[in-house]
Amino acid sequence: MSVTVSPKRLRREFVKKVKELSGQNLQLCYQCGMCTGNCPAAANMDISPRRIIELARLGLEEEIAGSKTVWACASCLACTVNCPRGFDLSKVMEAIRLLTLRRNIDHMRPEDISPKQRCELPQIAMVSGLRKFTG
């Protein structure tokens, strides 16, 4: 995937919001890729966790918004505990999800869960999933 960076495309407001919601200093990351290497969901992502950080700090909101990466994240925190820079990527993933959810754009509808699955799922799955995927 090639990305064109120009002052016109940068969304400084987006960078500011991500920093504010996540409490993370995006400049800490030195792009070593430990997050991607340890991510059990990386195979389901179109943009790797490492690249998400790079795109976020460049303010490339459109690339991130069109990607399924943050929705494939299971918040398992394997990235967080393995980061040599003490950067908490799970909080950045959450911040990016919330920037979409808070515009009333849900990732899924509760009614999309089949009735059979609804009966089978443990409550913690329903509560946690709907917290992550709906606003």
Binding site: V81, Q117, V127, S128
Partner: protein, 302 residues
């Protein structure tokens, strides 16, 4: 001795086979798990956004219930609840500004500042009872049961709430040894099972589980030992799918650690609710002669 105890929603319905053997076992060990009055859902996941305080209200209310009881410790059993409550507690302890906002928002409640310590039942077994003392109480050693500890995520991550070493946890291994079982270590024991992804991408769960289950089998496990109801659901579901997809895939029984505890303490299979388990645990237990209550009691050596 009475311990303040927070069960959480799942343990009262889908995971009764996690809770009931725990309550019975702790009683046999001289502890009463005293359920908090008026507990509410903890919210299942800790809110990761810095500006989101409203989702801290639910876990903090439960901590306030414990403080009202005059307790300085709150025992949890569900791995999700443990993580959410412990992280919310750290927030109340360490962040004065957010603590003040939350306390003033809940002005009908007493003020709270992280006084209650949130612990997991495994920590009580390790730190308050001790593996040696637990081994002495074992009436039915789980001899020859090759069980692989599977930790999942929320008991170990993030670092500040971990009940054990994040990279190389041993707490379940030591627990199983105390019960007389043969623990089987495998490198994927802390790899995520897919968690809540099951509600939006159920078809992906088998691929999350495949490396975990294959690795445990390769290392000689006959069963997995779990602490989390969502791991249980995802791995149980994935095994059924992998039996169809992967030729020669062998389904393993999935146990909660509390079921093995109750069994080893001689409390019998009834309290364990094996009918709620995945992977037909009873045939393995029969094979190991662990279901017959009349089997002679042997002390654990060493």
């Amino acid at each position: 001795m009475s311990l303040a105890y927070y069960p959480g929603c799942t343990l009262k319905t889908k995971a009764r086979n996690l809770e009931e053997p725990a309550v019975a076992s702790m009683e046999a060990l001289g502890f009463n798990l005293d359920e908090l009055p008026r507990w509410n859902c903890c919210g299942a996941v800790y809110s990761l956004a810095d500006d989101d305080l409203i989702h801290q209200v639910a876990p903090v209310r439960n901590l306030i219930r414990a403080k009202e009881q005059g307790k300085n410790e709150l025992v949890t059993l569900c791995a999700f609840c443990f993580n959410t409550l412990k992280r919310a507690n750290l927030l109340m302890k360490d962040n004065a500004e957010k603590r003040d906002t939350l306390n003033s928002f809940m002005n009908e409640e007493i003020d709270y500042s992280g006084e209650v310590k949130v612990v997991h039942l495994l920590e009580v077994l390790r730190d308050d009872i001790g593996w040696g003392a637990l081994a002495e109480k074992v009436k039915l050693p789980l001899r020859e049961l090759k069980a692989a500890p599977y930790y999942g995520c929320t008991l170990l991550r993030p670092r500040e709430v971990a009940i054990d070493n994040v990279e190389d946890p041993t707490i379940l291994r030591e627990f199983l040894k105390a019960l007389g079982a043969s623990p089987v270590d495998f490198p994927e024991s802390t790899r995520c099972c897919g968690s809540y992804q099951v509600i939006s991408s159920p078809d992906d769960i088998a691929e999350y589980a495949r490396p975990i289950l294959n690795s445990a089998l390769r290392h000689g496990a006959e069963a997995l030992v779990l602490t989390c109801p969502l791991c249980d659901y995802n791995l149980g579901r994935a095994q059924k799918e992998l039996m169809k997809k992967q030729s020669g895939f062998k389904e393993m029984p999935l146990f909660y650690f509390t079921q093995l505890l109750a069994l080893a303490l001689g409390l019998g299979p009834q309290v364990c609710h094996f009918e709620l388990n995945h992977g037909s645990p009873e045939s393995l237990l029969k094979e190991k002669d662990l279901l017959s209550q009349s089997r002679s009691v042997q002390p654990i050596g060493g």
